[in-house]
């Protein structure tokens, strides 16, 4: 199965593409509503600002086809900002509306720690997880963000602690998302992507 990467002009699509390539997976970039409508598996990479992402999705008319695809149970993986986009609202751009696929909101990490949360950190697994299958419990992942989802809900499968506990991995039916960058997280990250690919197969 081919993985469709949402290319909205921002985000580091190329490094996700390379990471998938290394795992032998086929991928294509989608920039139009038509491409998303035909997608069999979707990946939303993201770095940068919540506002840039939401505006880019709306300017390119990608919001509705994206929601439709998730609605028809297409496997979806959100990375970093791609996780945050699943929620209704973010402190980073309070006037904009996110994808509203999950209840809750994206908050600023507390300023008692250095921000951005930048570097390699470990997870605390909360539940049995598809994405983390075969990943060592003390594995490190690469994070680069200042905002996060603090409230833990049923879809939270792993958290990370930095100033406060926040959602690091979530899984809900066909929706998967990670706050870290699996494409930049060495072998542990590759295993997460492998698990997502297995889910798509």
């Amino acid at each position: 199965m081919k993985i469709t990467l949402l290319d909205y002009g921002a985000g580091n699509v190329a490094s996700v593409e390379r990471a998938l390539q290394r795992l032998g997976a086929e991928s294509q970039r989608a920039t139009t509503p038509e491409c998303i409508a035909k997608a069999e598996a979707l990946l939303l990479p993201g770095v940068g600002h919540f506002e840039t992402l939401m505006r880019a999705l709306d300017d390119r008319k990608l919001r509705t086809p994206l929601l439709d695809a998730v609605g028809r149970a297409v496997p979806f993986l959100g990375i970093c900002l791609g996780l945050q986009a699943l929620y209704a609202v973010s402190d980073e751009a309070p006037d904009l509306t996110g994808l509203q696929l999950l209840p809750g909101c994206v908050r600023s990490l507390p300023s008692v720690v250095k921000l951005p949360h930048m570097g390699w950190n470990r997870l605390l697994m909360k539940k049995k997880s598809v994405l983390l299958d075969g990943v060592a419990s003390d594995a490190y992942f690469y994070f680069a963000h200042s905002y996060a989802v603090i409230d833990q809900r049923e879809e939270t499968v792993a958290v990370c602690s930095y100033g406060t506990e926040f959602v690091a991995v979530l899984e809900k039916e066909n929706i998967c998302a990670v706050q870290f960058h699996p494409e930049k997280s060495g072998e542990a990250g590759a295993q997460v992507l492998r698990n997502f690919l297995r889910l798509c197969a």
Binding site: A10, N12, A14, S15, R18, A19, R22, V47, G48, H49, S111, K114, L115, P116, H117, M118, G119, W120, N121, R122, L124, A136, Y140, Y142, A144, H145, S146, C160, S161, Y162, H181, E183, K184, S185, G186, E187, G189, A190
Partner: protein
């Protein structure tokens, strides 16, 4: 759980070759950037920095191609810089495969460049690189590859850079660079205590004890070095095992 201290090899690149100097001069060839990148990716480097030391307009396409070749070898973050004068320069470098850019001389000349890049790509993608020399008891910012003083206090500049939107500070002690006498822990600690973002220390590393010192007394979040890694004087794996035994959190490669 705590954030791992990062070990970052740095490739100073002239066109398509890695070079290394002492105190910013006396350059010599140190290898192929993509080959070194592949080695560091496997050995457990936490990130890689690639700097275009020539930073000339006509060499730009060669440097971007080098970034592409290096990025293709990495499953860890890549920071690239040298000669970034405008948001468009930054975009080219990020498009070529870097995750972050470093700003240096151009940001001193026009500090708004930091805000522009931060708004466009996010603070996490903007590293303010500051080359520092101690002159008459004061830490002075140096520009143009360390050749000219900029009449700015380094600590004040770091603070201003963060206010403008830099997500990380890369501080290089020019007094220590290439000397192998250890990082400047005093400078790094002074900077780390006044900014709210991670600080990468650079310049002077040789012994594992130098890294331990910069992560403890120097309060560095990451430590950068070049020749000791290129010349295989200090294998990253052994360095991390040493730091881990001292209780410093590091990501041990599998």
């Amino acid at each position: 759980m705590s954030l791992a201290r990062r070990i970052i090899p740095c490739l100073d690149v002239d066109g398509d070759r890695v070079v290394k100097g002492v105190n910013f001069v006396a350059l010599r060839d140190a290898g192929d950037p993509a080959q070194l990148a592949a080695r560091y990716n496997t050995e457990g480097a936490d990130e890689l920095v690639v700097l275009d030391i020539a930073a000339s307009r006509d060499q730009r396409p060669t440097f971007l191609e080098t970034i592409r070749r290096v990025a293709a070898e990495l499953a860890i973050p890549l920071t690239a810089g040298g000669g970034i004068r405008a948001v468009e320069d930054a975009r080219c470098v990020l498009r070529a495969g870097a995750d972050k850019i470093t700003l240096n001389t151009a940001a001193v000349a026009r500090p708004e460049l930091i805000s522009e890049a931060s708004l466009e790509f996010g603070a996490q993608a903007v590293v303010l690189a500051i080359d520092v020399k101690r002159v008459a008891g004061q830490w002075v910012v140096m520009v143009r590859g360390g050749r000219e003083p900029a009449n700015r206090d380094a600590i004040a500049w770091a603070k201003e850079g963060v206010t403008l939107g830099a997500g990380e500070i890369l501080v290089t002690s020019m007094d220590r660079d290439g000397t192998k006498s250890g990082f400047d822990a005093e400078l790094t600690a002074a900077m780390s205590s006044v900014v709210s973002v991670p600080v990468i220390a650079s310049g002077g590393a040789k012994l594992p004890a130098h890294f331990a010192e910069i992560f403890t007394a120097g309060h560095a979040d990451a430590a950068l070095a070049a020749s000791i890694f290129h010349d295989q004087i200090q294998p990253i794996r052994e360095l991390k095992a040493y730091l881990s035994a001292l209780g410093i959190p590091v990501r041990l490669p599998c």
